[in-house]
Symmetry: C2
Subunit: 314 residues, 2 copies
């Protein structure tokens, strides 16, 4: 079976075009075609996962399929976009049908959960890597950017942090304990905060998804907005499983560890009650935007270095 | 210098947002934002180039930059789309600023030639590979598909074939001769037939770009359209440099060799004169669409096997 046949057969269930979502033409031609409804902009983002860098060698293909789409869709959440479709650029060392089918299953599970269709792709031979580009919609003139945070805004996160970073220690353990299971789930099965992102549209002043670490990603907001931040470490949400598993390291992992894919956003203080009452997700206020340029943790300046793919301190 | 700073600095010249083209928000946020003008659909396609598979190890980064964008934009040409912007998912083993700058230079050269902007991307550490996703526009209801070829249509190609395949022999030679130079230019500097593709919009019944080889790509049109084809080998355009360089192998390379990125399209016979008189590119009629399922070369059935990334015969 050649490349084209393999792709068509295995990925066919994901790729049905659907005029309801605007995907006029999906997989199988030189380009896909997407209709953008009046009053909307296209929002798009691409994320690459490389074996041995972003996931361990020999990682289960079904988990990889979920993870690759979830990580990419998290950028739509951070922009407040409603998801539509995605492309998959897949590089694999060899073409095992079983492996492809498991990957497609995991990806289809994610695609169904997020309401997305496979629109196109490219499959090539080479070291294992996936680049997923996601397409979503935002109302014209909107889109949650990183640049709108203002002094006095509340800094919020959409869920507990540090679990995925702690899970890295467990990835190669064949039979982890119950605590490890919960941490591993955060790594294997990140959930993009799509509903929350859309709710934040027109409410939050800035947003980002936490892929590189809370402080590193908050630093992106601060730099883009020309502001500083003050964080209260006691308010950062940590799971009991994380505390039990790593003890005093929990806060460090929550501050610097990546791969959580929760949202970090800034909100005018007047909307705190609405956030608690109406938002589709329990969020936590962890600090406040300041007029300086520093990020203060419990009053002390901190360096926002998190996970950097080139290993440098930013 | 960290990943983010490096990308921002080196790729900044390519990434200016430009409301004239609809790119509302470019590199630097969670998503890019694109406005689609009324009456248009978004056309998009992704292509991956892997070191050692699609280009030789140690390939010059400036040539790689041109090639990566040209190859991807060729799919816009095959759809008759007008180009707008692109994303770059770049995986590199190490971050040399010189290498990045040369890559960006080659890519900017291509982007300027094609009228495209860098809209976003992702840079990661790993084995060298580039996935480029291109965005273009087609009028609503249009788009050159593979599926519209009808018996009696003329089969045309937009330029000489086989040069890029012949160049593969020369890629590792330090000082090739003058003939080789011309063949190498076809490989290093493919030119997507964007103006021709747009001219063919509403005229051609089917189109594809020749990336896998003339017969392999024509077979995609035939399969999608439910037709056969009859090709006259004597009409296939070959350059004198190719004939001089490989002698009797020239036709084989033109039929089966990939990487030419000329368009292959089918045209109602009544438009042959308009093609010769008005098209922005000299095209050649090489055969005719038939009602069968076979591809005949000088009356004999041929297998359309070309370059397949999984090495199988399709």
């Amino acid at each position: 079976m050649g490349e084209f046949e393999l792709i068509e057969r295995v990925f066919a269930p994901l790729s049905c075009s659907d005029t309801g979502t605007g995907l006029v033409l999906g997989v199988g031609d030189d380009c896909a075609l997407q209709a953008i409804p009046p009053g909307h902009w296209l929002a798009f983002s691409v994320d690459t996962l490389v074996e041995g860098v972003h996931f361990p060698t020999g990682y289960a293909p079904e988990q990889l399929g979920w993870r690759a789409l979830a990580v990419a869709a998290s950028d739509l959440a951070a922009m407040g976009a409603s998801p539509v479709c995605f492309t998959l650029a897949l590089t694999v060392p060899e073409a095992s049908v079983d492996w492809f089918e498991a990957l497609a299953r995991g990806m289809q599970h994610a695609a169904t959960s997020f309401g997305m269709r496979l629109a196109g792709g490219d499959t090539t031979r080479g070291p294992l890597a996936l680049s997923v580009q996601v397409h979503g919609l935002v109302p014209v003139g909107q889109g949650l950017r990183r640049s709108g945070a203002r002094p006095g805004d509340l800094i919020c996160v959409s869920g507990p942090l540090g679990n995925a970073a702690a899970a890295l220690h467990w990835l190669s353990t064949p039979a982890p304990d119950a605590r490890a299971e919960q941490l591993l789930a955060s790594y294997h099965h990140p959930v993009p905060r799509l509903a929350l992102g859309q709710w934040l549209q027109g409410r939050a002043t800035a947003a980002i998804d936490i892929s590189d670490g809370l402080l590193a990603d908050l630093a992106h907001i601060c730099r883009a907005s020309g502001v500083g931040a003050s964080i209260d470490s006691a308010t950062i949400p940590l799971t009991p499983a994380l505390r039990a598993s790593v003890g005093d390291e929990a806060l460090t992992l929550a501050l610097y560890g990546g791969d959580d894919y929760e949202l970090c956003f800034t909100l005018p203080p007047g909307l705190q009650e609405a956030l608690a009452r109406e938002a589709p997700q329990v969020c936590t206020v962890i600090g406040k935007v300041s007029s300086g340029a520093d990020i203060l943790l419990d009053g002390q300046p901190v360096m926002p270095h998190g996970y950097d793919h080139f290993g440098a301190q930013s």
